[in-house]
Structures are given as structure tokens and as C-alpha cells.
């Protein structure tokens, strides 16, 4: 069994996890943008605003479930440990960047920023962290 998460030599579980991860991530972006456009263009009722704001959370829950499923089924303890460490690194990076951007967003007259979805930032951070971990343990 040759496990290399970033060299396309994935186990069936890892391949399935990556597919679910990607699909949920794309769905999060689509639903977030869709909900934003809907609220902006149609001026819906307060109930509909609350409802559309809830929609992007569904794939986020999907991502959490996907990661949980992977960690529960991964039989290689070492690889599982690397993934958990990468998740913690990504969580830290997301909190730090989110706190920083939150400070900048408080001054929209000075800083014109593109909103970044925390889940996208988290997923990209996980990918980078896993890659670094595997490189360190090559």
C-alpha cells in the first residue's frame, strides 16, 4: 500500500474523501454566492434571508462529516496523525487570518477587501499543511 496524498497515489478511502471534500467545497462557494446574489437582487423577506443564509452551511457540515468519516476509517495511524496535525494547523491559520481580516473589515472606508470564506481558507490551509507534513516525513 503506497500512500502519498499529494502524488495521486491515493487509497480508495483517500480518493473518495478528496472527491467529497472538493464537491462540498464547490457547493459551499456556489451556495454562498447564490445566496448573496439572491438577497442583493430580489430583496426577499426576512425569513428568506435567514433561510438563504443557512444554505451554505449544509456543505460545510458535509465537509466536517467527510473529515470525520476519513479519520474514523483511516487505518494508517501515522497518516491519520499527520492529517489531524494539519487540521489543527489549518484551524490556527484560519483563526489568525479571520481575526486580522475582521479588524480590517471594521474600516471599510480604508480597506476594500474581497470577502474570503473561512471554509475555503481552512480547506486550502489543510491542503498546504498536509503537503508540508508529507514533505517533512518523506
Amino acid at each position: 500500500m503506497n500512500i502519498r496524498l499529494c502524488n495521486r497515489q491515493l487509497s480508495p478511502l483517500q480518493r473518495r474523501t478528496m472527491q467529497l471534500f472538493g464537491a462540498n467545497l464547490a457547493l459551499t462557494a456556489v451556495l454562498s454566492l447564490g445566496a448573496h446574489d439572491l438577497v442583493k437582487d430580489l430583496h426577499p423577506s426576512a425569513f428568506l434571508i435567514y433561510f438563504t443564509a443557512l444554505l451554505p452551511t449544509i456543505p460545510v457540515i458535509g465537509i466536517v462529516a467527510t473529515v470525520g468519516r476519513y479519520l474514523a476509517r483511516e487505518t494508517d495511524d501515522f497518516i491519520r496523525m499527520l492529517v489531524v496535525q494539519s487540521l489543527l494547523w489549518a484551524l490556527g491559520i484560519t483563526f489568525v487570518v479571520d481575526t486580522y481580516l475582521g479588524g480590517l473589515f471594521a474600516h471599510p472606508q480604508i480597506f476594500r477587501l474581497i470577502p474570503i470564506l473561512n471554509i475555503d481558507l481552512f480547506c486550502v490551509s489543510v491542503g498546504v499543511a498536509v503537503r508540508i507534513q508529507l514533505w517533512r516525513n518523506r
Partner: protein, 64 residues
């Protein structure tokens, strides 16, 4: 925790990848165990003991 994994593997002329295949784990796991950066779980330690037909305590020692 110290271990004799590298020696036992060398005696059988197995590469890290060979051993990883037999244990159904990644080569990175074998490398991490051999270099002392990762202690295997009990099930994996028992698997190693069965594979090398050696008691666990002759593969792993808890000396610093």
C-alpha cells in the same frame, strides 16, 4: 521508544516499502517508526511481532 525494526528488516532484506506492503501501512509510517518519530499503536506492534515472529519486547524497548 527505541526499536530494532531497521535491523529486523535488513536481516530479511526487505525495503521500507516491502515492510509497509506486508503491514498494509504507508512507507512513511515505517520510516517514522524506525527513526523513533512515531510510536506504533498496539495493534500495529502486534502485527510487527507476528510478522517477524519475535516477541514485542524484543522489537521495542522503552529505554531513552
Amino acid at each position: 521508544m527505541k526499536n530494532r525494526l531497521r535491523v529486523l528488516r535488513a536481516e530479511r532484506n526487505w525495503s521500507q516499502a516491502d515492510l509497509a506492503d506486508r503491514l498494509q501501512v504507508s512507507r512513511q509510517s515505517i520510516n517514522a517508526i524506525e527513526t523513533g518519530r512515531f510510536d506504533p499503536s498496539l495493534p500495529l506492534a502486534f502485527k510487527l511481532a507476528r510478522l517477524f515472529e519475535t516477541p514485542i519486547e524484543q522489537i521495542f524497548t522503552d529505554e531513552e
